[in-house]
Symmetry: C2
């Protein structure tokens, strides 16, 4: 089957239904930005997140799938195989969005999984192995950092209680928000947590918009993802002293904003990369007391640092704290690493299956690594893993102007359907 088109399966992927589902889901947390772009703001473990999950569950139940949830809130929709005891093929992504994010990031991989499974069932394509569509909890990390908590806990990458005391901006603890959600979803069957309490999947495949400009620029339909660059996230706290902005001579200040400037100037030098492969971003800043006429007594800022080469990721990442310590003048420095994912290369099985399906369906495809991290990263130690990318307009993501065409999404869902049928019959 890998190299043969399954014509009835491909035809059963309903492009119009798939787009309708995407647009219906985008209304939950939907908003229009200043420029008129329709964005989505759907934080994990929020009422909007739960509303989106209920909509997904209603579709899954209508399609005859079994629904269950684990103790991290990861949500599973199960298509039964003819050999139900075999390890399932897992597909999916996440349903939470960035604050003021787009309509496709994450949610498309979940809805594409549902559409692919519906197509399999409607086309009467039997599979030996079960297929499960998963919606991982908190991939984005926008409300609770770090992201990928659901998949990390599933994979045993970190104990499930690791983030209990993490708080959101309103001071709500992760553990409390999660307990609230589980209580509100007590009617859904509970399942063991991934490999920690249960079974490893047979394979994992995640469909996602590229979130980069390459596929569009090269006029490709399908990206065969070969791996994911490494990411390290840090929070830097600079503790100075608040003083009256009108009376305190600059020489007597411990101004945390000025020390932040010194720190980021030095980090820009550390992270300089003429090839523009390295990604270094300071994107979140908190100032206290944050009033214009009181010198800043405290600043916290984040560092998002990524590189495909683990040697660079380790060397420059490990240099961050020393560079900041040397750069600041007046403040006490605290650097906390809160996320560290080394670069991964996918085993060949899933990328080969994706490539074979794209070729069989006559789609233009290319191999490429992922610049963004994904839940798939944490599946690599568990089972053969891969991803399917589709192009998105101008490579834009994490923004209301994020867009992928109905045709691009349908092509991705068709490839996914064939890959799932292939893997689930091995």
């Amino acid at each position: 089957m890998p190299d043969a088109v399954a014509p009835n399966l491909v035809a059963a992927v309903d492009a119009a239904r798939h787009w309708r589902d995407m647009m219906a889901m985008a209304e939950i947390g939907g908003f229009i930005d200043e420029a008129g772009h329709p964005g989505v703001n759907r934080p994990c473990l929020s009422p909007l997140d739960r509303q989106a999950r209920r909509l997904l569950i209603s579709w899954a139940e209508k399609a005859g799938l079994g629904v269950s949830v684990d103790r991290l809130g990861n949500l599973f929709l199960r298509h039964e195989g003819s050999a139900p005891g075999l390890a399932p093929v897992l597909t999916g992504s996440h349903m939470d969005s960035q604050p003021n994010g787009g309509r496709f990031d994450g949610i498309w991989g979940v809805i594409a999984g549902l559409e692919a499974v519906r197509a399999l069932r409607e086309a009467g394509v039997a599979t030996k192995r079960p297929i499960e569509v998963v919606a991982w909890t908190n991939e984005e990390g926008g409300r609770y950092a770090p992201g990928c908590m659901g998949s990390m806990a599933y994979a045993g990458f970190a104990p499930p209680d690791t983030w209990d005391d993490v708080t959101d901006r309103d001071g709500i603890r992760w553990a409390d928000a999660l307990a609230e959600q589980l209580a509100l979803e007590a009617d859904i069957a509970r399942r063991p947590l991934g490999v920690v309490e249960g079974q490893a999947p047979f394979a994992y495949v995640e469909a996602h918009i590229e979130q980069g400009p390459l596929l569009e620029a090269k006029e490709m339909d399908i990206g065969v993802v070969t791996g994911i660059q490494g990411s390290r996230w840090f929070v830097v706290e600079l503790k100075g002293k608040s003083d009256h902005a009108g009376t305190t001579p600059l020489a007597m200040r411990k101004d945390a904003v000025q020390d932040m400037l010194r720190a980021i100037n030095a980090l820009n030098a550390l992270m300089h990369d003429p090839k523009d492969v390295l990604r270094f971003t300071v994107a979140s800043i908190e100032v206290q007391p944050n009033t214009s006429n009181s010198v800043a007594g405290l600043v916290r800022f984040t560092i998002d640092f990524r590189h495909p080469d683990n040697a660079v990721l380790q060397a420059r990442g490990n240099a961050i704290e020393g560079v900041i310590q040397a750069a600041v003048r007046d403040c006490a420095v605290k650097v906390t690493e809160r996320f560290h994912a080394v670069p991964v290369t996918f085993q060949p099985e899933v990328p080969d299956a994706v490539e074979a399906a794209a070729r069989a369906q006559g789609l233009r495809h290319m191999r490429l690594p992922s610049g963004a991290f994904h839940d798939s990263q944490f599946m690599v130690p568990l089972c053969p893993t891969g991803m399917i990318f589709v192009p998105c307009r101008a490579g834009v993501s994490h923004h209301p102007s994020e867009y992928a065409t109905p045709e691009a999404l349908a092509a991705g869902a068709r490839v996914l359907a064939q890959v799932l049928a292939d893997l689930a019959n091995r």
Copy 2:
């Protein structure tokens, strides 16, 4: 009288009562910071602000003073003179605090005014002119910028509806918050708004902690304030584009945080002053979307720039926008000036009266300008104006560790009492 001690008046200032009043008031909005310092967080037009005003009114009524409020919420406590038609001597300050501010800034000038008037009445010192103690609305500008709205409107510096559409961080409009407060204080007699609708005062004298280190360092009891340095406040908005931090090459970004860095680096150069007289502060920063893995699409930051020399204040302040425009690389720049107060020099009448009273009472005193701005700034065009400073520990203000001793405050209130008696009999 100016050079004579009024022994019964000085004795009537009750240091213990004065300190008790200060500490009782500090409980309204009071909190203890991490280091154990007792701070105050009392935003203007808040329930805490109203609670503080009610406490002050209860004291004023007990002392036999007349209470009234104008359409900006400025609150007046009136000691009647033997010639009630004459222009009153005005004293006071403000009751709002900085976010996480101290227990003395502003509120001391109001309570010192009350204590001085109580002492006059208890000592039976008659005055020809009325004396009014004023609590100006929103001096700090912490909740609604700019500060000094109440005194600016009183003095006709700006029309009273100038700030109607200014919003706080919760999006509440100034006009709505003010209307709410006036409705809740409808039982208080309404009076005309300053020189806009009524009469100019005969003189204005404001008691305040120094908020700087000079008096303490020179072991002085009383600062005879000669004037106030000029202030200009700006808000800078940098509009870039939010993108995925993992996938977007740095060369393709419009990163508002990086342009903020370029802007402040350039401003630091513009504002460099080897003599450390110039005050340049960036103390409030807002980033959107402010999530660690989405490139910042928008940054707003504030500039607080002060100088005693108007030529420097104008030249460097006017250069700010051009310097930022030249420094940024990718963002659209919008610079808005939201406060502009030129340096003022007080006319000699009030400083001379303060100096005479301090000398008569045997207090160590010195002349000095104010680094902070104050409501008194806007009284200068209306009438002879001046201020009385008392030392505060290490010059710290706008912080919970702000402190002045009971003895220092009592000395200040005694000088104020004598100055009021002097001016109100001219």
